[in-house]
């Protein structure tokens, strides 16, 4: 028993955190919005690829880092906290390992950060980064297939988080490259996406609490720092509590997937519930504690809050995952009104 990130995994997350601290400033995290200079985001993504991020779960033989799912929570927490608008869960957790397993020739471009790869396990739902991606991992029935930009029709869809670059994507059912097949493969990819998204949400929650702590310590009203009011303190303490308890649940989900634990599905759903609810609470608290400035787009907070709302509902919202857990716990046996 040892509940602590292994050195390898911590080192990767640390390197990524350092890189993001230097490279992903306010300009980069805004550059993904419509009309923004998204090439600045691409440049950071390429640098992250240089550290090996895209290939985290790709075997070393395929030029990846060869790490397992234990690496995802610390890594994607850092990506989440940065606010950088990239398909982190979709590429790192879902897409790249599928391409590697299928021997897809596009893998090299993805690992280099030259080809932007997105993924969606929810047929018909808008695809994140659908207007910007070069490659799409899409599910049809029990198959996961890879399509190039030329093979799909991507119609932009608005989002509260403009940098999500949503598109409604239609692809020819039999086309593209078959990556994986069968309910187990589809479920495994889904769990990767859920886990990665949960980790992003933890990072977003942490960041929003930090931003708010810094703001309320500085901002004065009624002659004292706003952060010295007990109401503000307690609201932030509750947000911190939620985020801090989500974090180990996400780590445990990563371990369960890596270890092939039979409880992996439940642990993963649990992580998503806790991380989604924590990030939502952090967003709500952060906006309230900031007052009017939290309600403007000139200040950075909204970038994190909108991402949190989008990701909390993506890859199954909290009530979807509670429903999944209810089934596992044998709570849906009987009919009810």
């Amino acid at each position: 028993m040892r509940f602590s990130t292994a050195e390898n995994d911590a080192a990767l997350a640390g390197a990524v955190a350092d890189l993001l601290a230097k490279e992903a400033g306010p300009e980069e995290i805004r550059a993904g919005w419509p009309g923004g200079r998204s090439e600045r985001v691409d440049a950071v993504w390429r640098k992250l690829a240089g550290v090996g991020v895209a290939g985290t779960l790709v075997p070393e033989a395929d030029d990846g880092l060869g790490l397992d799912e234990n690496a995802l929570p610390p890594l994607l927490t850092e990506l989440g906290r940065s606010g950088l608008p990239v398909p982190a869960a979709e590429t790192v957790a879902v897409g790249a390992p599928l391409l590697a397993a299928a021997g897809a020739p596009q893998l090299a471009g993805v690992l280099a950060g030259d080809l932007l790869l997105t993924a969606s396990a929810d047929p018909g739902a808008p695809v994140p980064f659908g207007t910007r991606a070069d490659l799409f991992v899409l599910r049809t029935g029990e198959q996961l297939r890879l399509y190039g930009r030329d093979e799909v029709d991507a119609e932009p869809v608005g989002s509260a988080d403009g940098s999500r670059a949503l598109a409604r994507v239609t692809a020819p059912p039999g086309g593209g490259l078959l990556l994986a097949e069968g309910p187990d493969a589809v479920a495994a990819a889904w769990r990767h996406g859920v886990l990665g998204t949960a980790a992003l949400l933890v990072g977003l929650g942490e960041r929003m609490v930090e931003l708010t702590v810094a703001y309320v310590a500085e901002r004065h009203q009624f002659g004292v720092p706003v952060g010295s009011f007990q109401a503000v303190k307690h609201a932030l303490a509750d947000a911190e509590l939620a985020v801090r308890f989500a974090r180990p649940a996400v780590m445990a989900a990563g371990w369960a997937q890596a270890a092939g634990d039979p409880g992996a599905a439940v642990r993963t759903s649990m992580a998503k519930v806790l991380a989604s609810d924590a990030a939502r609470l952090a967003a709500r608290t952060a906006i309230q504690c900031h007052g009017a400035i939290g309600y403007t787009t000139e200040y950075d907070l909204h970038l994190y809050a909108k991402r949190a709302w989008a990701l909390a509902a993506a890859w199954g919202g909290p009530s979807d995952h509670r429903e999944l857990i209810a089934r596992e716990l044998d709570l849906t046996r009987v009919g009810r009104a």
């Binding site: 989002s159 509260a160 988080d161 949503l166 004065h220 009203q221 309230q288 309600y295 709302w309």
Partner: protein, 378 residues
Amino acid sequence: MDLTWSPEDEAFRAEARAWLEANVPRRPLPSGDTREGFAAHLEWERTLFDARWAVVSWPEEYGGRDASIWQWLIFEEEYYRAGAPQRVTQNGIFLLAPTVFEFGTPEQQRRILPRMAAARDLWAQGWSEPGAGSDLAGIRSRAVRDEAAGGWRLTGQKTWTTRGAFCTHLFGLFRTDPEAQRHRGLTYFLVPLDAPGVTVRGFERLDGDEGFAEVFLDDVFVPDTDVLGGVDRGWSVAMATTGSERGLTLRSPGRFLTAAERLLDLARSLPDGPGAHRDRVVQSWIDAQAYQLFTLEQVTALAEGRPAGAESSLNKLFWSELDIRLHETALDLLGPAAETDGPWSKGFLFSLAGPIYAGTNEIQRNIVAERLLGLPRR
């Protein structure tokens, strides 16, 4: 207890409903917090005014109908029920006008109110400053006496001015006595935004609309006739206005009754129904009803001459949190579809401002605790 409407009130409702059905634009206007949407909304305001629906509770001489507070409530219900456009004139009509009625000179009333009702003058509120949000006493913008010119010279910065970039006038507090502490020495001024020395810069709200502005004032001259309620008396004059901002006039029950009906429609429209969210849907509907009933009790008290006072803080707390819960429930019903732009997503972002503006909910809870419950101030 009598929760039925009189024949006169029913007739008023029927008239309002019929007019709204015939006149409310078929398609929703673009947001009134954007530049082009504002123009469309202005046209609607003038349509309202021409038919004498702009300010139903005002005297007829200013364009109103002398309607009772009950009829005002009825009109609001019908207005929201009809899906009529947002009132871009509301900061003038609901925040400034009550103060003008109470503190304005007859000359000010005649000069200001009819043009406000007709949406010819568009008023923005100038409460907040970068260093003074919920704590209005921290205001630093100042007015210096210009005896020769018979007026004041205003310098400073106002912010979070709703639709300030599209308005023609500003009302707000300025410090006229630099020696006075906090609440004292403030004066309530009315400022045309085209006066020399005024600069207005619009900026974006959370929901992406340019709904806010910063207003910079650099030695702006305002004549004595544009002081409202007396020099150095601005604090008590303003408090009357923030009272009405918090209370009934800002958020009538009609708004939430309509939102709750829309939520029910959404829940019924889903293939699997409201599922695990059913209790929350029901509770939102219950809360909207409860808000209406609370308001009816309050309006009865007002109509019978018992003033509401600090109870308006209860209204503010209840509607602002109801509004968020209601929208959160809608977004959860929509699931991942909530992310794509739409009225619920936009409404959710807007609802988050509720507990912040017009005195944060933290301050409202202090007021409830200290003034209604009598807990010690510390």
